[in-house]
Each structure stands twice: as structure tokens, then as C-alpha cells.
Symmetry: C2
Subunit: 170 residues, 2 copies
Amino acid sequence: MAKKIADYKDYVGETIKAFDEGRVLLVSHGKEGLPNVMAIGWGTVGIIWRKPMFVVLVRPSRHTYKLIEETGEFTVNIVTPQLKEVVQYCGTVSGRDHNKFKEKQLTAIPSKKVKTPIIKECILHFECRVVYKNDLIPSELEKSIIPALYPKGDFHLVYFGEILACQYES
Amino acid sequence: MAKKIADYKDYVGETIKAFDEGRVLLVSHGKEGLPNVMAIGWGTVGIIWRKPMFVVLVRPSRHTYKLIEETGEFTVNIVTPQLKEVVQYCGTVSGRDHNKFKEKQLTAIPSKKVKTPIIKECILHFECRVVYKNDLIPSELEKSIIPALYPKGDFHLVYFGEILACQYES
């Protein structure tokens, strides 16, 4: 078992399926260097501005938001089906008062291209640098989305992250 | 040869590779019903707001922009490598004064879920309904992107299209 540099295009389908299955973690780290991990259920992958791009949404109320704002980086990490419980746990507690890496015995290891680490126990990794961000504009959202997903008005920020490296555990 | 309903997740990788190879066409049609086709080089695919999503960028100066604004729909169509020349042509002339369907002998056929047609001669199709859009905010773009891609300040609008159907030609 070793991580190998991969062409992100070969793993886009697997990544979208992992979203469907609740197997996606986003890692950020602030200026102080301690990494934090959150569960993400949404994202898109492709090409924008001639760059490979991973688009993620983060609510400004999240601890992750503060960390990404400090460094302009994040990594996306896919877990095996056996580790879905870890993703569920990461979706229920905040990095403000939990060290989720420690609690779930996750290992932060160095990335190839960004300072934010990847998670050793995961099988697919995208290292991203924010090249654009945009607050969601509530008035432009289809009306049915708001009561279902934003009952408290806590609208996401959309981060466009250039994919600088992709690794797969073979 | 027949078009079959497919799971979009099985064709995301192929779609991103098609962007790289200049094989992606976007079809729109206005209130008057005449379809128009443009070449697109950028886009992302995934899940947002619990919906399958195709994100595309269109400059407001384009004829396509006017048409999508009228209907809130578009289809994305992938050509075979043999038809790359058609995409190149569609990237050089405007639907304002060219009927590109007719000039390139493309056939508009009915979609499954939207009124905007798909292109018979293509091999992979995504039918999309706009659920969100956002003007690019130049001040949030990484500085190096602007002189390279927006020397005239003609910034894109970002359309988030829910994928209502995906068809593949087997």
C-alpha cells in the first residue's frame, strides 16, 4: 500500500460517488498549524480558467472557514467504505472544541504541493489552493432550496480550489 | 446505435477529459425556439444542494447568455474525436448571425427532461436546469487569471445547472 501521484481526471467519477456515499473529508489548517477535518457532502470537479478545479462549499459559521481564510488552502480526502463512521462523526462535532484527528486516530501526513496535510488513512486525495471564492447570493438561488437547506439563513461560501496534486492509494 | 439513459456519475471522468480535448458543446434555445450551440472549454460536475450539478461559465456578451436567461435551461453535449472540428467552428462564430446547427449539419432532437434540445450527432448528453447563477467578482479572482483570461474585463457568469437527465450513445 503506497500513495501514488495520479491524474485527477481518472478519479473524478469515484469522487462523485464518494460524495453520494458520505465518504468525503475536507482538511484545513490555520496559521497555527493544527489541522482540522470536516465532513463534506457536496462538491464539483472539472476545469475552469484552464486549471483543474475542485469546488467546495463551506458555511462561514464553520471552524474550517476561518482556517481556509487564513491559508487559502484545503485538501479533499476520500475514505474507504469501512471508515464512513469517521465521516459521520466529523459531521457532528466542531474543530473549535474537538481534535478530530486525535479522537478518530487519523494521521496528518505531508501533502506534495500545499502546506495543508492529507489524511494517511484515506485512499484518494486532492490538494487545492483557493483561486476564487464567492458568497452565495440568496436571491439567485432557486426558491425551493432555501427552506430545505438554509432555514437559518446560514448561506455557504463557494471556494474554487485549483487542484495542484492528486494522489491515490493503490 | 441508440441513446440510453445513464447515471451521470459513470460519465463524469469522460466529460472532464472531453473538456481537455475540445469536444464539448453547449446548446441553448430562446423563447423563439431556435436552438444555438457554443463551444465550452470549462465546466465542473458533481453534487451541490443534494442535486447532481453541472457548472458552466458563459460571458454575458455571448448570444447563449441571452438564450439561457430566457429559458433557464441548457444541455451539454460531447462530440466524438472525429467531430472536434465542429467544436472549433462553433467557437469562432456567433449564433446572432450564424445558424450553426444548419451550417455544421447538426440535428437538434428532443431532450428527455428539458425543452432545450440535445444534438443527435453527439455521444453524451446532460440536460440541465439553472438553479443558481453568480456573476464573477473580479476582486476575488486570483490576480494572475485576469490579464491572461479577462484582458477586456468581459467576466463570466457562472451557471449552476441541475442535471435532470444524462444520456449516452452506446
